[in-house]
Amino acid sequence: TEDFVGHQVLRVSAANEAQVQMVKELEDLEHLQLDFWRDPSRPGTPIDVRVPFSSLQAVKIFLESHGISYTIMIEDVQSLLDKEKRQMSSFQARAQ
């Protein structure tokens, strides 16, 4: 099973078209293995991206160095998945 420990989902706010383009450039960098939950479209529309732990530093430095603001939407994807799994398992156990 794929492990998402340390993966974060960032909510990126591109303030202008140039910043949207910069985030689109990030999308093309396959080695970062970014997973865009909400694709870059236009200024003011949130961009959500899941970033593997191994790429977090590079992505955050990229965003900060270009003055692109972001917040952490999900601190650790795996912990949410664990919660989800526990909820399903406990329901299944009760059902049985």
Partner: protein
């Protein structure tokens, strides 16, 4: 029994398929199950048909879960199915709809992807078909339709999450619906349900040209999102795909609209920035409840505006 089924938790493919069998067994006069194909990995693709009789009545299509990781959509589809059987004969709007029209509901549109999200990768979005010459698997089934296929707004890279596939309808999960819709020939509304970001969208996605029925679709969208918001205050934006989000080619409702299905819509359900695809199970029922109000609005409009 579907009365004791837990609608407030996520379920596996097997559990959902068992639920469908139970629902049909409990409501033989109203519900039936049709297999419209087999997935790439050989799983059956089922739709539920809700009908009160008559041959080839005008129909409404609803599908959920074409993107497998959008779990709240399959869960909402289960809830809708139960809601239809509960409300027929009780709710005057739904009763009027079903007295004249059929409803088709495909709860798990991408069964291979959905099974894969449960077994191996919760974040899987695409189908599971293999692409010759690539190590990457799967096609985005919402870029694989024969409407602006191959234009900007989809990827030609098999490793991309928006990979469009080698040709339109290459995915059996898409082709099964295409064949069904064409064979049926009398579908009047087609609603494809995704998550997340709280949007109600209509054609087009591949071109910025307005759809010929844009004014009516826009008005209807406004009514639908107003109805949706009346329950919990959840705010939805609406508009054409290309204007409300971004250019997307080969999308489902662009194709259905091109087939003459005027009331072609796609939803993006909750949420707006806390959980994304990992919406807690406690939000399944509220999400389904509010979405149902919007669906009823669209279905009632379809009933009252024959074309």
């Amino acid at each position: 029994s579907t009365d004791t089924f837990n609608y407030a938790t996520y379920h596996t493919l097997e559990e959902i398929y068992n639920f469908m069998d139970l629902l049909v067994a409990e409501n033989p006069q109203l519900a039936s199950k049709i297999q419209i194909g087999n997935s790439y990995e050989g799983r059956p693709i089922y739709i539920l048909k809700f009908s009160t009789g008559g041959d080839n009545r005008p129909a409404i299509w609803i599908d959920t879960g074409i993107h497998s990781r959008e779990w709240v959509t399959q869960a909402s589809g289960v809830w809708f199915a139960k809601k239809i059987t509960q409300d027929y004969g009780q709710d005057p709007t739904l009763t009027a709809i079903l007295d004249s029209m059929d409803i088709f509901l495909e709860i798990v549109t991408n069964p291979d992807g959905f099974a894969f999200t449960h077994s191996s990768n919760r974040m899987w979005r695409k189908t599971r078909s293999k692409t010759a010459g690539s190590i990457c698997v799967g096609v985005d089934p919402n870029r694989n339709w024969d409407a602006g296929f191959g234009k900007p707004g989809a990827s030609s890279n098999p490793c991309s999450d928006t990979y469009r596939g080698k040709f339109a309808n290459s995915e059996v999960e898409v082709r099964s619906i295409v064949d069904f819709v064409k064979t049926h020939g009398n579908i009047k509304a087609f609603i494809s349900i995704h998550s997340y970001s709280q949007l109600l969208l209509y054609p087009y996605g591949y071109t910025s040209q307005p759809a010929p029925d844009e004014e009516e679709l826009d008005q209807l969208s406004k009514s639908a999102v107003t109805a949706l918001a009346s329950l919990y205050g959840t705010k939805f934006k609406y508009g054409s795909i290309i204007k409300a989000i971004y250019q997307a080619s080969g999308s489902t409702v662009d194709w259905t609209y091109s087939q003459g299905i005027k009331y072609s819509f796609t939803f993006e359900l909750r949420d707006t920035g806390r959980y994304g695809f990992l919406l807690p199970a406690s939000q399944i029922i509220p999400t389904a409840q509010e979405t149902w109000l919007a669906l009823l609005t669209i279905m009632e409009h379809t009933l009252n505006h024959p074309y």
